[in-house]
């Protein structure tokens, strides 16, 4: 593991190397403090003459306004389109509205889309960019922790249907990502903490040293201490970028490791009713269940289950499904069978062998799953 940054918070650049069919699709993720006003210069250096900022309404007057001002200062003709906050914006009607607005602006392949906000705006704006005029360049300026460490990286874009989340989408890599940790200062506690679940996930699936570092810095992370936060974001983004470089389109199975905790988590999230659990909370519960399943199957030392539970708890994340309400195991198993990640209805899970190492396990015995789900 590389070492955490020292006293000051330098800007770190993570390179994402991706071959292209026609043009190289490699790009950079800039991480650090004080970056928001640099977005315009970065996008303009990429050749932008016109830019359309697609902004979550919650940051339209703050972060997005600064991004738009920096774009204008860099000489790009800039328009901002505002999207109401919340998951309900991530659907066909809002995609249709944004397509129509881009058409009204006569956007073409020389127009750069700049998404400012959390996962909802990033996924939505990314999908709209992927599909307008068969593909506009897009930049991501994530302003939530979960977006900085997860959703803004890797090129997955998508919208929800009534039948399920992210059922429609495209793989569409950004031209660049700018993750400014200063934007995290004003996040509501619960949303910020929810993002820490994905940070823990990276340690569990890929990097035991990082996991140990998290164990030693839980208090600093909860306090949003900039040094610790910068390292948590940089290391997480870097680990995700490595996975995406090796398995961009989920072909080899490597990228599936990122779904650790998500099969259980998604089931709890759905069964509880969307909105009751934040995504990261559901993932924390899911990771705790996945570790228990691995232990039940004899794949993982019980001590690791406890160590993960303690780290999650020290970050004020849930480890038991109490927060989801009373849900029958059978309900959860039904939902998991319908999961996009299931194959022909057979249950499969990403399960840890040790801290920093996971495996995709197919055809897990439903009785073992039910036993784990029935535990408190």
């Amino acid at each position: 593991m590389a070492t955490p940054p020292a006293r000051t918070i330098p800007v770190r650049t993570i390179h994402v190397r991706l071959p292209g069919e026609a043009t190289d699709r490699s790009y950079e993720i800039a991480c650090g403090s004080g970056l928001i006003d640099s977005v315009g210069g970065r996008v303009a250096a990429d050749g932008a003459r016109r830019a359309v900022v697609i902004a979550d309404a919650a940051v339209a007057g703050s972060h997005a306004a600064r991004v738009a001002a920096s774009l204008a200062a860099a000489g790009a003709a800039t328009t901002t389109l505002e999207v109401p906050s919340g998951e309900s914006s991530k659907g066909v009607p809002m995609a249709g509205r944004l397509w129509a607005e881009l058409a009204a602006l006569a956007a073409d392949r020389g127009t750069q889309i700049v998404a400012v906000g959390g996962g909802v705006v990033g996924d939505l704006a990314g999908f709209v960019a992927a599909t307008f005029a068969r593909g506009l360049p897009v930049w991501h300026v994530p302003t939530t922790l979960v977006a900085q460490v997860d959703s803004a990286i890797g090129g997955k874009t998508g919208i929800n249907l009534e039948a399920g989340k992210n059922l429609v989408g495209a793989f569409w890599q950004p031209r660049g990502v700018v993750a400014d940790i200063d934007t995290l200062a004003t996040l509501p506690d619960r949303e910020y903490i929810s993002g820490l679940a994905e940070v823990v996930k990276y340690g569990m699936i890929l990097d035991a040293s990082f996991f140990a570092w998290l164990e030693g810095h839980a208090a600093e992370l909860l306090a949003r201490e900039p040094q610790a936060l910068a390292w948590a974001v940089e290391r997480s983004a870097s680990l995700k970028a490595q996975v995406v470089e090796q398995d961009e389109r989920e072909v080899s199975g490597l990228r599936a490791a990122l779904n650790y905790g998500h099969t259980f988590g998604h089931a709890y999230e759905t069964a509880a009713g969307y909105g009751r659990l934040l995504h990261g909370e559901a993932v924390a519960i899911g990771m705790a269940r996945a570790a228990r399943l691995a232990a039940t199957l004899g794949r993982l030392d019980e001590a690791v289950v406890g160590r993960q539970d303690r780290l999650l708890a020290s970050l004020q994340l849930p480890t038991t499904p109490a927060a989801a309400g009373a849900i029958e195991p059978a309900t959860l198993i039904t939902i998991m069978g319908r999961d996009k990640k299931s194959l022909h209805g057979r249950l499969r899970f990403v399960l840890p062998d040790a801290i920093g190492r996971v495996e995709l396990v197919e055809g897990v015995d439903p009785a073992a799953v039910e036993r784990v789900l029935s535990a408190p």
Copy 2:
């Protein structure tokens, strides 16, 4: 130029070689007679356990029913979704309906989409396939001439917005194309003839020998004589595939050659009001205007203008804009400035230097364009 097929109509296979980011995306176009019942076997050989046929209502009871039966016979669980005929199906509402239907069928990346119909269904089903679950495999079974020689080949998918045609879409290559010329026997005359405009286009932009062959076989083509028709489809599809192999995503400018006749044609089509001119008719008028513009600019021998006019006329295609109604040149120029193919509002045209050779010409003098538009 390869030689036309002899007495019988063998099945010809055109290979489209495309590198992939993760997996090879090469595929085959099968051309010939008696192919429709082979679709199931071909798709099943590609590993399909489940298939969803998306069919134009006009062929749902005929060609699409045979495709579905062949899929079922090959062991794929098959469902058919019917789409009303006509351009109005190619929009956001129908894409939304198909997405919801695929979700209701629990389609996943192991489900193959099979599009049966003309350009509307091919473009729509291709776009839905490109975006459902971030990409399902798709097969094209084009049943119109224009789809067999043009729209089913090359991976452009899309839907229309109220603001314009094909404004939303994706590049998404099929797993295979099956072009059975038998399906062309029942096409209405006007629609069949409209497709011949694109065939003439391939001769003009890429292959002088093919152009000369068309001049010698206009009567056979009008009579839909199978030998001639098979060669026209095979040669056109093959020429398009070559262009797509070299410039899949319109990066080098080579693919732009395929837009010969389309800048003028699109303007006439729009100004006349959609529905008055068929697309191929508008392209024929557009090619006649583009050749005149090339001659006006001193780029093309006047004799070639006449030769192209005579070939189009011998195929019963229009060469003058009379069919579009009375339209002011200024109206057409305004529309051309808004064209997706224009760059920052400057007029650019694909213009021939000779039969079989075209060039993309930027910044054409608007006065010359107006002179050509004002001619009868």
